[in-house]
């Protein structure tokens, strides 16, 4: 082995795996704080439980596979995955399913493939898909932003605790008042009923602000050189074009472009999920192709299927094409 392996030897900037993971987490912080602020302690509970369960499960898996435990946990990859999963879940999502989802993420999504770097599918999205298929109602029941969010009110924490253990029914008849389908779902049902949509009223500021926070985090990662621009840009451009095409051919999908891009998980997906290095392809062209694929599929699934949000499935579908894209483009480039 050559002696060149030290950091920044010969003036070449080199990131450590743990630096990459921790920078991504740093970039997630503003959005996460905003989410906790708008949606209440439920989000915080999701995050805590998911991360704790994931770390424990990771340690157990590594132990069973007879690998060194500490360095693998210290690289932060599992914490990041759990964090991303938790951000995709509704605040009132019960603990039981949450644990199931986290375990699925860790075992199905990661260790069955051979651990870090070997998995074909994004672990957080595997966990999300498992949950969406297994607990469709719980996954699509979101509390209204601004409800039950006071942090200094013990009664409030009590309600959340009950909510998390016993589900939304624990609040009795009043739960209807504080829940809604996912914001997008809500929007879509209004659209489908051809109601006159006052876009501004639906523009619930939290969602837009949240998307902006993800965008800001993503830009930070770009500037730091942690991610490269190809996947997010390709994904957002493709999503925008797909949306415009929908609008052109089916004018009843009347959501203007920017709200469409700033709703839902597109921003989070573009900068934090689709860019997961392990499951994304490597060469520039394959990355562009991959990002564009996710963008198109997200919009198609979101608009034409019964699922409220398409990013997760789009990412999983494109993950499956990663080896193909890589081989295709690298060989194509050379042959």
């Amino acid at each position: 082995m050559s002696g060149a392996l030290t950091h920044n030897r010969l003036g070449v900037k080199r990131l450590k795996t743990s630096t990459i993971m921790s920078s991504v987490m740093l970039a997630l912080i503003p959005g996460s704080i905003l989410m906790v602020y708008w949606l209440g302690p439920g989000v915080l509970m999701n995050l805590t439980v998911s991360v704790l369960v994931a770390v424990a499960c990771e340690a157990l898996c590594l132990r069973c596979r007879q690998r060194a435990i500490t360095p693998m946990i210290a690289d932060g990859s599992i914490v990041l995955a759990a964090w991303l999963l938790a951000l995709c879940l509704p605040p009132a999502f019960p603990f039981g399913p949450l644990i199931v989802g986290t375990l699925a993420m860790c075992v199905l999504g990661k260790h069955l493939y051979g651990g870090l770097g070997q998995n074909l599918f994004n672990p957080a999205m595997v966990g999300y898909a498992v949950l969406l298929v297994s607990f469709p109602t719980a996954m699509t029941t979101w509390t209204q932003p601004g409800e039950l969010t006071a942090f200094n009110d013990t009664a409030n924490w009590g309600s959340w605790w009950a909510l998390k253990w016993h589900g939304v029914s624990s609040l009795g008849g009043s739960w209807d008042a504080i829940t809604q389908a996912t914001p997008l779902d809500h929007l879509r049902s209004l659209e489908r009923q051809s109601l006159i949509v006052d876009v501004d009223a639906l523009h619930s500021p939290p969602w837009r602000a949240l998307s902006l926070a993800w965008l800001a985090g993503g830009l930070y990662l770009l500037v730091r050189g942690i991610i490269r621009w190809h996947i997010p840009v390709a994904m957002l451009v493709a999503a925008a074009l797909t949306h415009l095409a929908y609008r052109f051919f089916f004018p009843e999908y009347s959501l203007p472009l920017l709200p469409a891009l700033f709703y839902g998980a597109l921003m989070l997906g573009a900068f934090f999920i689709a860019t997961d290095p392990v499951t994304a392809p490597s060469s520039v062209r394959s990355r562009l192709c991959y990002g564009a694929g996710i963008g198109v599929l997200s919009m198609v699934i979101r608009t034409s299927s019964n699922y409220p949000e398409g990013v997760a499935f789009a990412v999983l579908l494109m993950n499956a094409t990663t080896p193909l894209l890589d081989r295709w483009f690298v060989l194509d480039k050379r042959l």
Partner: protein
């Protein structure tokens, strides 16, 4: 040609060297070692048959095996398994030459210049150590090739070409001219990086135009000195995975090799090269003209005697050295392994501790850094599992072992070492296959011979039998005739 004509390289790294490095461009000459070791393997690791006998005295330049010559005069005293500067840490069949100290040369006086180059055993002094005569022959098939003289010595810590150009600029340019004449081309493109100001000044002072040499300065990017990246930067042509420079009509020769060719044409065999000896921290570097076959430890002792910094470094770590530069080199125990045509530099001193590699996170930083557009992470997976077919699919052969991918990998994976290993494994496997094919061919031949022999024998037998039968028949005929005659007689 100026910078705007230089094509970009996708990948590669802008390295920075220690600014206070002390590079001694004087050309020292190592004393002739009493024992020279000549490994009998060619660049593809095929073992060569010696064509000398034990105890035979040889002259410098005399062939001892195909493509290998004695670097000095003396006696062949042994034929042993001996270590050589190769990352595999293996031993190979080696001739030991006890030099007689008189250094008598055999004259090279073949009429045909290519034969002269071949007889002088000129090998590439830059990269893989290919036979130069073969390279030129291939280029000549092309008609009038583009001649590129490669003086892009881009890896920090290696300054042998730099020193050569600074010390002997006129000899270098003359060598270029004789190569231009040999190839029948109009001019040579002399590629050199723009940070070698002293060498550039020395060359410019000798008026390169008079030698039909066109000096092309390139902005520094590592590894522009490797053949494929250099051709891409000069011509914009990215070589295909199965192409060599000659296939696109370019003959690309290292500047020291060009001088060797020139010397060969003048009748002097290629018996030495310049070796850079540099401390691991790249702060001190000296250049020593060394006979091939000189044991590395003898050379080190000499280097330590002329440079105190190297002596200190050697004291701090007298067990291992790095053969090659800090990126492309490999570690080797310091022993009597000989200096070969490809040994361009030796790094001495305490090496940096090798960090423990972690799992590849497929971040593709290596892909971005790779100068020849490979997917090192896929190659790595293939190399670790010794899956040579997959490695081939990901174009293992194209890898120039530059070490760029190592330098950027966040998981600290020693990728280049793995690729070196995979290339070696592949070569070995090919050799086994060739051996098997040969053996099969031999046994097929043998079987065929046997069958043919049996067939011939059977045919001959049949013929004999037929003849015998015929004879019997004719004998019977005669008997019958006689009998008939006898029978007839009384009647008549």
């Amino acid at each position: 040609m100026n910078h705007t004509d230089i094509h970009p390289l996708s990948g590669g790294l802008a390295l920075s060297v220690p600014t206070n490095a002390h590079i001694d461009a004087t050309l020292h000459t190592a004393p002739l070692a009493p024992q020279l070791y000549l490994p009998l393997v060619d660049y593809s690791r095929t073992v060569l048959q010696p064509n000398v006998t034990l105890g035979q005295s040889v002259l410098a330049g005399q062939s001892v095996a195909r493509g290998i010559i004695a670097p000095s005069s003396g006696t062949i005293t042994a034929y042993i398994e001996h270590s050589w500067p190769h990352p595999s840490n293996t031993q190979v069949p080696t001739l030991v030459l006890q030099s007689d100290g008189q250094d008598r040369f055999i004259p090279i006086d073949h009429v045909h210049p290519l034969e002269r180059i071949e007889a002088a055993a000129v090998h590439g002094l830059g990269g893989a150590g290919f036979s130069t005569a073969a390279k030129i022959r291939k280029a000549c098939e092309f008609g009038r090739p583009t001649l590129v003289v490669n003086a892009v010595e881009c890896e920090p810590g290696i300054a042998c070409d730099d020193a050569l150009m600074q010390q002997q600029p006129r000899a270098v340019l003359e060598a270029c001219r004789s190569l231009i004449e040999l190839l029948g081309v109009y001019s040579a493109q002399f590629a050199i990086e723009d940070d070698k100001q002293l060498a550039l000044n020395a060359l410019q002072a000798c008026e390169p135009e008079q030698y039909a040499v066109d000096i092309v300065t390139l902005p520094v990017i590592y590894p522009s000195g490797a053949e494929a990246p250099l051709i891409q930067r000069l011509t914009g042509i990215a070589l295909e995975y199965d192409q060599r420079a000659a296939d696109v009509g370019v003959v690309c020769l290292n500047v020291a090799t060009v001088l060797s060719i020139h010397n060969a044409l003048q009748g002097r065999p290629a018996v030495d090269r310049i070796v850079s000896i540099t401390t691991q921290d790249l702060h001190h570097s000296i250049n020593i003209r060394t006979r091939f076959g000189t044991p590395v430890n003898a050379l080190m002792t000499f280097a330590a005697s002329i440079n105190p910094a190297i002596a200190t470094a050697l004291q701090q770590n007298s067990s291992t050295i790095t053969v090659g530069g800090p990126l492309s080199g490999f570690q080797k125990t310091l022993d009597t392994s000989p200096i070969l045509a490809t040994t361009n530099a030796l790094l001495v001193g305490p090496a940096d501790p090798v960090p423990t590699p972690s799992a590849c996170i497929r971040c593709a930083e290596c892909t971005v850094a790779c100068p020849v557009n490979l997917l090192p992470q896929e190659l790595y997976t293939a190399a670790v599992t010794e899956d040579i077919d997959t490695a081939n699919r990901y174009l293992l052969d194209v890898c120039v072992l530059c070490g760029c991918c190592d330098l950027v990998c966040p998981a600290d994976i020693p990728l280049t070492s793995w690729f070196r290993f995979a290339k070696d494994a592949k070569r070995q496997r090919q050799q086994e296959q060739t051996a098997a094919t040969l053996a099969r061919a031999r046994s097929d031949n043998h079987n065929e011979r046997e069958t043919r022999r049996a067939q011939e024998k059977a045919e001959a037998d049949a013929a004999r039998r037929a003849q015998a039968a015929q004879r019997k028949e004719s004998a019977a005929d005669i008997k019958a005739a006689i009998a008939r005659a006898k029978n007839r007689r009384p009647r008549s």
